[in-house]
């Protein structure tokens, strides 16, 4: 009888340790994600992907980022930097450059600060403002 009780307790204890099952809506987009995507994305009047990617590289260098990887056929650039004030926090960014219909290019940037996504629109607005300037200079 005592053995049965101990077994029951052990089973209960082990059951408590197991991770909760993933929610069915784990991968379904939320309203927040949609909003985030809208300010992470901007479309520019640039036909050539290379021109847009070079401008992105230039902006990232201006912003003090270290470009880690660049893949031209995929239009992918990843970069990171150690952030002020102590230069031990890490900000990483992934930029994707994709051509869209009508001779335009869609650029999406998503940043993480110490492994937490940056959800504030302001940094992205700054990034795209700098990119716009860089594209203008490149074209000029």
């Amino acid at each position: 009888m005592t053995r049965a009780r101990i077994t029951m307790l052990l089973v209960l204890a082990l059951a408590a340790c197991s991770a909760p099952p993933p929610r069915p809506d784990l991968l379904s987009p939320t309203e927040e994600q949609t909003k985030l995507r809208s300010f992470q994305t901007r479309t520019f009047d640039v036909v050539e992907r290379q021109v847009a990617m070079r401008a992105v590289l230039g902006v990232l260098q201006d912003l003090g980022f270290i470009v880690e990887r660049a893949n031209e056929p995929l239009g992918l650039i990843t970069a990171a930097r150690f952030a002020e004030p102590n230069f031990s926090d890490v900000v990483a960014v992934t930029v994707t450059v994709r051509p869209v219909e009508g001779g335009q290019t869609m650029i999406r940037a998503n940043a993480i600060h110490n492994n937490r996504p940056v959800t504030d629109p302001e940094p992205y607005q700054r990034f795209f403002a700098a990119l716009e300037k860089s594209l203008f200079l490149t074209k000029g």
Partner: protein, 183 residues
């Protein structure tokens, strides 16, 4: 009733770290851009890229990443970060704190560079080369009172000394037999 709430808010307000805005263009970015960039009158960006890689090799770097289509290179070298000044300062702080504080000092450092070459005009007759040097320092262990400070803390600093950039571009200019123009 309001006073304690205000006091609590004030205390929490003091604890709040200043908000960091990523992608904020530093005020001196234009200045750095000038010292990090040179323009070459050439129609052969491939030659410019391979000469850049060769110069970096001459300087002891190994190329870690290269993308010809984007004119992108990333290179790095690792060196000791030990400096006599740091060792002396560490000993001084240890004595002054009566053996309570052993300051962690830089042990290893990675000096790295990212280089981007892009056309400076529509005809592709002038190419702009921009290189950014930076270093990442790994610190050793230390001790603060009874707390052991683990080794491996990293910090990063951009190399801003214009002389470093001048040296690089002088070498690159010699390697491609072209004159380098500033922006």
């Amino acid at each position: 009733m309001r006073a304690p709430v205000c006091a609590a808010l004030f205390v929490f307000g003091a604890c709040e770290t200043p908000k960091q805005v990523p992608f904020e263009l530093p005020p001196d970015s234009a200045l750095h851009r000038v010292s990090e960039t040179r323009v070459f009158e050439t129609k052969d960006p491939g030659e410019l890229m391979s000469a850049s890689a060769a110069v970096l090799q001459d300087l002891g770097f190994h190329v870690e990443e290269s993308v010809r289509e984007l004119g992108f290179l990333r290179a790095a070298k690792e060196r000791s970060a030990r400096e006599h000044g740091q060792e002396i300062w560490r000993a001084v702080t240890l004595v002054l704190s009566f053996g309570k504080f052993l300051m962690p000092i830089g042990l290893e450092q990675k000096i790295a560079a990212t280089l981007v070459a892009r056309p400076a005009d529509a005809a592709g007759a002038r190419w702009e080369v921009r290189i950014v040097f930076y270093r990442v320092v790994w610190k050793g262990d230390g001790q603060s009172n009874d707390q052991y400070l683990q080794a491996g803390q990293q910090s990063m600093a951009m190399v801003r000394d214009p002389v470093v950039y001048e040296q690089f571009f002088r070498k690159l200019s010699k390697a491609v037999f072209l004159e380098a123009y500033t922006l």
